[in-house]
Amino acid sequence: MEIKIEEVLRYLGSGNISLDTQLEELIEGCIEEVQRLARPQYIYETYKIKVAKEEVAFQKDGVTFKGATLAKHLEESIEGVILAATLGVEIDRAIVKYQYSKLTRAVILDACASVAIEAICDQLQQELISKYQEKRLQLTRRFSPGYGDLALEYQGKLLDLLKAQQRIGLMSTKESLLVPRKSVTAIIGIIPKAPPKAGLNGCLDCNLREGCKYRREAGNCGNFTSDM
C-alpha cells in the first residue's frame, strides 16, 4: 500500500506551501503509522445488470438501485462489479486518540488514511482492469452511494449484498456512514469498449461540489479527472 506524500499534502490543502523539515518528518511518521495500523481488506462481486433510465437492477439477487446518474454511468455496461474496501478499525481508533493528545497528528493521519484507502481501491481497480483486459473488456470509474442522485442510504443494501460485515468487518450506521470510517463501497461497470469521455464521475456529479476546497484550489480532488 503506497501512500504518496504529494497526495497527503493535497488532501491537507497545502497549495504551494513549502514544508519545513519538522512538518515533513511528521507527515512521514503519519504515513508509516497508517501503514502499520491498516488492515486493508477488500471484497467484490460481479453481477449481470439491467440498466433502465433511472435505475439499475443487479440481477442474480434481484436488487435494484434507483438513480439516473448511476444508470447513465452504467449505460453501456454489460456487468457490474460491486466492491467494498476498508482499512479496519485501528486507524479510526488512532485518529480519535490523537484528537485528545496531538490534534495536528490526528488531522494528518486522517489525510494519510484517506489517501491509503483510495490507493487500495486503485490497486483493486488495476487488478480488475488486467483481469478484464484478456476478455477485451474495460471498466468505468468507481461510482459510490452519495454520488449524483444515488442515495447514500444504499450503503447498507450494498454491504448486505457482499456480506461485508462478516467478510471484512464493514458496516454502516443508521445514517449510512461507513464504519470503519476509512472505507469505500463502489460500483464499477464492465463495458465492451473504451469508456465514454463524458463528464460522468466528475465534479458535476458530486454532492460536495459547492463547498469543495479541492475543486477551488486544485481543480479537483483527484478522484475524478474532470476539471468542471
Binding site: G15, G62, D110, Q165, G169, T173, L177
Partner: protein
C-alpha cells in the same frame, strides 16, 4: 443443566452450516434465511434432521439474524421468527436445541453508534423469545466485537436460566475485526461467566488451530470450535469450500486432543462433515486440561497478566488535591482526563485508576461517562475507583473488558455490597486491610483482614487470583513506626495467602520534603517484599526508572531489553539554549510545544497570566490566522501553532492561583449533530476558540437535540456551533436549529462541516457559516463584541 454435565463426560457435537445448505436448495442471497422458519419450515426441518442423523447432539436454530434490526422490514416479529425457529429445531429430534444469536449488524460505540444498552435490548428480545419457545441453551456466535459479546452475554444471563456459549470470529492474523486477541477473548468472556467459549467462522480448521491453542492456554471453560470448511475460493462464479469431510474430521481429532470439548462446523460444512467427526471421535473422552490461574485485567483489545512481573497502575486520574482535574470535572471538560489517560499510557502505565469522586458532581453519571470516554481513546485496562456502589455498578456495566475494582475492605457492609458485583462482572478487586476497627497497627492483624476478605470472596465464587490485597500505606511523617509494618504485611500476604498485592505508594511521603526520594526508596523496599502492582505516578521519571531497574534485578525484564531501550541512549533533555534566541511568537509559529512550556514557566515568574496571553498568545494567533486565510500557511501549520498555544495556556491555568486570573471571553457550545459520529472538524474549531479565550462546552458527537437545548438553557449560552459531515446528517442539523429557534430564540448559531456551504447554511436557517475553525473564531469575536457592547 444436564448439557453442562454432559460436556465433562463426552465430546459433544454441534451441527454444521445452515446457509450453505439453504443455498444448495436454491435460496436467493437477498432473502432473509430466518423467514424460512415460517415460510418453508419443512426445508429447515429437513436440514436439522440431516444433522441429527449425522450425529449432532446439538442443533442450532435458524435464527442467526432474527433481531429487530434485520427483521424491521420483513413484516415479521422477532418473537414469531424465533418461536418458529425453535419449534422446527425441536421437532428434529435433537438432544439439545441451541438458540442461535448472531451479531446485531451495526457497530457499537465508540466507533459506531449503538450503545451497550441498545444492543442489550436487541439481544434481550431474542433471549426471552428463545427461552420461552423452549431452547435448551444459548449460542452467541460469530462475534467480532467483545463489547457486543458483553451485551449479549448479559442479556442472556439476566433474562434466562439457560447455559450460555459465546464464540468469536478471528481473522488470519489472530485478531477479530475489532482487534481482540484470543487471550483477551478468553479473559473477558470468562469474566462474564459464559459456560463455554470458543471460535467460529471466517477461518478453516488449519488456520484456526494456532488461535485455539492460544485460547486454550488462558481459559478453564470448555471450548467450542466451529471452523469453516477451509478458506473459500471462487470457482466459476461459485463459492467453494475446499476442506472435505475426512480432512475436516482429522483436524477435529487434533482439536479434541488439544482439549476442545465441543465441535461443529461453520460455513461450507455439511452433514457429511459432522458424520465424519462422529465416526472419527466416537467414544472419545475429553482430554484433561491443565487448569490456569492467572491474574488478568483487560480492555476490549488488550490484556495485562499480573503474574511474575511488576505492573504499573497509573494514579493520576483522581481529583484529590488536583485543582485542574476538579475544575475539569465540574465544567465537564473531560478531554483533560482523556489527555491524562493517554499521557500515562504513553509513559508506561499498564492499568489506569479512574476516580472522579467530587462531592458536588453526580458521580454515577460522571464515572460512567468517563469510563466510556477513556476506553474510546486508550486500550489500557481500567481500575474503577469509587466508594459509591451505584457508580461502581454503572461503570462495571459500561466498561469494555475485565477491570479492577478499587476497592472492597474487611467491613461486613463493604463485602456484602461490593463482592456480588465483583462476581457478576468477573472483575478483579482490591481488598483493603481495614475493617470496622480501622487500620490495624501490626502486619499480622492486616494479614487476618486479608484472610477474612479472601474467605468471603471465595464464598461468593470469586477465584483467588482475582483478589489483590492493599496492605495500606501510611504517611511516614505521621505514623513513622507503621511504615515497616506495611512492608511486612505485603510479604505475609504474598507468602501465606499467595495473593497479588498493590499499594498506593505516593501516600508515604506526604508532608515531607523531597517526596520523590521517599517514594522511590519505599517503592524499592515494597517491591522486594513482593509488591506486584504499585499504584503510582508514571509521569514521575524517577519512579518509573525505579520500576525499570527493579524489573531487571527481579529477572523479569530479560536481558534488560526494556531497560536499555528506555535508558540506554541517555536521558533526552530539552536544550533551551538552541532556541533561546527565538521570541515566543516565533516559537508559537513554529509550533515548538516543549520550548514554549519552558518559556511560559519562565515568563510567569515576572508577568501576569493575562499579560502573557494578551501580549503574546493572541497576537501570534492572529498572525497565524491571517497567514492561513491568505493561503501562506496550511492546516497542519495552523494546528501545530494552536496546539503549542494550548499547551502554553495549560501551564498558565495550572500555575495561576484562581481561574479568574484568566478572563473568559464568552461561553460557546459545540456539538456534532445526532447521527454523525465524526468530530475532528469540531475539535479543531474548539481548540482554536479555546485559544482565543472562549469557554467551550463540548457535547461531543452524535448529540441528542434535547441535550443541546437543555445545556444552552442551563448554562445561558449565546453561541452554538454545530457540525455535520454527511448529507444524511444535515437534516438532523436542520432539526437541531429548528428546536433551538423555538426554545432559545436569542441564541446565535454557526454551522460547519464537509457538506455545508453558505447557501445551505442559510437554507437551514443558521446565522453563520464557518468554512473552517479560523472562520469560527472570527464569527465568535463578532458575536461576543456585539453582546458585550450591548
Amino acid at each position: 443443566m444436564e448439557i453442562l454435565q454432559a460436556i465433562c463426560k463426552r465430546l459433544l457435537l454441534f451441527d454444521g452450516a445452515m446457509g450453505t445448505m439453504l443455498q444448495k436448495s436454491g435460496m436467493k442471497l437477498g432473502e432473509l434465511p430466518e423467514l424460512f422458519n415460517i415460510h418453508e419450515p419443512s426445508l429447515i426441518s429437513n436440514i436439522h434432521k440431516e444433522y441429527v442423523e449425522a450425529g449432532a447432539d446439538i442443533i442450532t436454530t435458524n435464527t442467526f439474524q432474527a433481531n429487530r434490526y434485520k427483521l424491521k422490514e420483513s413484516g415479521y416479529s422477532v418473537v414469531a421468527v424465533i418461536e418458529a425457529g425453535v419449534k422446527v429445531a425441536k421437532a428434529s429430534g435433537a438432544t439439545w436445541v441451541a438458540l442461535d444469536i448472531g451479531p446485531i449488524g451495526r457497530m457499537m460505540k465508540p466507533l459506531g453508534e449503538v450503545s451497550l444498552d441498545e444492543a442489550y435490548e436487541v439481544f434481550k428480545e431474542q433471549v426471552i423469545a428463545g427461552a420461552k419457545a423452549g431452547a435448551d441453551l444459548i449460542l452467541i456466535e460469530t462475534i467480532s466485537d467483545i463489547y457486543e459479546a458483553k451485551a449479549a452475554v448479559l442479556a442472556a444471563k439476566e433474562n434466562s436460566q439457560l447455559p450460555v456459549i459465546c464464540t468469536m470470529t478471528f481473522q488470519g492474523d489472530g485478531r477479530t475485526f475489532l482487534g481482540t486477541d484470543p487471550l483477551t477473548a478468553a479473559t473477558v468472556l470468562q469474566a462474564l461467566g459464559v459456560d463455554c467459549l470458543g471460535i467460529n467462522c471466517s477461518l478453516g480448521p488449519k488456520e484456526m488451530l494456532p488461535i485455539l491453542k492460544e485460547l486454550l492456554k488462558y481459559t478453564n471453560a470448555p471450548v467450542l470450535i466451529q471452523s469453516n470448511a477451509g478458506l473459500p475460493a471462487i470457482i466459476e462464479a461459485e463459492t467453494v469450500f475446499p476442506v472435505g469431510p475426512k480432512e475436516f474430521a482429522e483436524y477435529a481429532r487434533e482439536m479434541a486432543l488439544e482439549g476442545v470439548q465441543l465441535l461443529g462446523g461453520c460455513c461450507g460444512t455439511t452433514p457429511e462433515h459432522i458424520r465424519e467427526i462422529r465416526t472419527v471421535l466416537e467414544g472419545f473422552q475429553p482430554v484433561k486440561r491443565t487448569p490456569v490461574s492467572l491474574t488478568t485485567v483487560a480492555s476490549g483489545t488488550k490484556t495485562v497478566i499480573l503474574d511474575n512481573k511488576t505492573t504499573i497502575i497509573g494514579e493520576r486520574i483522581n481529583p484529590t488535591g488536583k485543582k485542574r482535574l476538579k475544575e475539569a470535572l465540574r465544567n465537564n471538560q473531560l478531554e483533560v482526563l482523556l489527555a491524562e489517560a493517554i499521557e500515562q499510557t504513553n509513559a508506561g502505565a499498564e492499568v489506569l485508576d479512574v476516580n472522579v469522586g467530587l462531592p458536588e458532581i453526580d458521580e454515577v453519571k460522571m464515572l460512567e461517562r468517563v469510563v466510556q470516554d477513556i476506553q474510546a481513546v486508550v486500550d489500557t485496562p481500567l481500575q474503577i475507583d469509587t466508594i459509591n456502589v451505584e457508580a461502581l455498578e454503572a461503570a462495571l456495566r459500561i466498561y469494555n473488558g475485565k477491570p479492577i475494582i478499587n476497592s472492597v475492605n474487611g467491613k461486613e457492609k463493604s463485602m456484602t455490597e461490593v463482592l456480588p458485583l465483583v462476581k457478576k462482572y468477573g472483575a478483579c478487586v482490591i481488598g483493603l486491610t481495614l475493617d470496622e476497627g480501622g487500620i490495624p497497627q501490626t502486619a499480622e492483624e492486616r494479614l487476618e483482614i486479608a484472610k477474612k476478605i479472601m474467605k468471603k470472596a471465595l464464598e461468593y465464587g470469586i477465584p483467588k487470583e482475582n483478589l489483590l490485597i492493599d496492605c495500606l500505606v501510611v504517611t511516614a511523617s505521621a505514623q513513622q513506626e507503621m511504615v515497616k509494618e506495611t512492608v511486612k504485611a505485603v510479604r505475609l500476604v504474598k507468602e501465606e495467602l499467595g495473593l497479588k498485592t498493590t499499594l498506593g505508594v505516593s501516600n508515604v511521603s506526604f508532608g515531607l520534603p523531597q517526596r520523590e526520594l521517599i517514594n522511590r526508596c519505599f517503592l524499592s523496599t515494597a517491591l522486594s517484599a513482593g509488591l506486584d502492582a504499585p499504584i503510582m505516578d508514571p509521569l514521575s521519571l524517577e519512579m518509573l526508572n525505579t520500576i525499570r531497574a527493579y524489573r531487571v534485578l527481579a529477572n523479569h525484564d530479560l536481558e534488560a531489553k526494556e531497560y536499555i531501550a528506555a535508558l540506554g541512549g541517555g536521558q533526552q533533555e530539552i536544550s533551551s539554549s538552541i532556541v533561546v534566541d527565538k521570541s515566543l511568537e516565533e516559537l508559537i509559529i513554529e509550533g515548538r510545544k516543549a520550548e514554549i512550556l519552558l518559556r511560559v514557566e519562565e515568563m510567569l515568574k515576572q508577568q501576569q497570566p493575562l499579560e502573557i496571553i494578551n501580549r503574546y498568545f493572541i497576537p501570534a494567533l492572529d498572525k497565524i490566522g491571517k497567514g492561513y486565510e491568505r493561503g501562506e500557511l496550511f492546516l497542519p501549520q495552523l494546528l501545530r501553532s494552536g496546539e503549542a498555544v494550548k499547551a502554553g495556556l495549560e501551564v498558565i491555568k495550572q500555575r495561576s492561583s484562581a481561574s479568574t486570573d484568566i478572563a473568559e471571553r464568552g461561553k460557546i457550545l459545540v456539538a456534532t449533530v445526532k447521527g454523525d459520529i465524526h468530530d475532528i472538524g469540531k475539535n479543531i474549531a474548539k481548540m482554536l476558540l479555546e485559544n482565543y479565550g472562549y469557554n467551550v462546552i463540548d457535547l461531543g458527537k452524535d448529540v441528542d437535540i434535547e441535550d443541546i437545548i437543555s445545556t444552552v438553557k442551563e448554562k445561558d449560552i449565546r453561541l452554538v456551533g454545530l457540525s455535520a459531515l454527511m448529507t444524511t446528517t444535515v437534516k438532523n442539523m436542520a432539526l437541531t436549529i429548528e428546536a433551538l429557534r423555538r426554545e432559545v430564540p436569542s441564541c446565535r448559531i454557526m454551522v460547519g462541516g464537509a457538506v455545508l456551504n453558505p447557501e445551505y447554511a442559510q437554507m437551514i436557517e443558521a446565522d453563520f457559516y464557518a468554512a473552517d475553525g479560523q472562520e469560527g473564531v472570527k464569527i465568535a469575536n463578532n458575536v461576543f463584541k456585539d453582546i458585550n457592547t450591548n
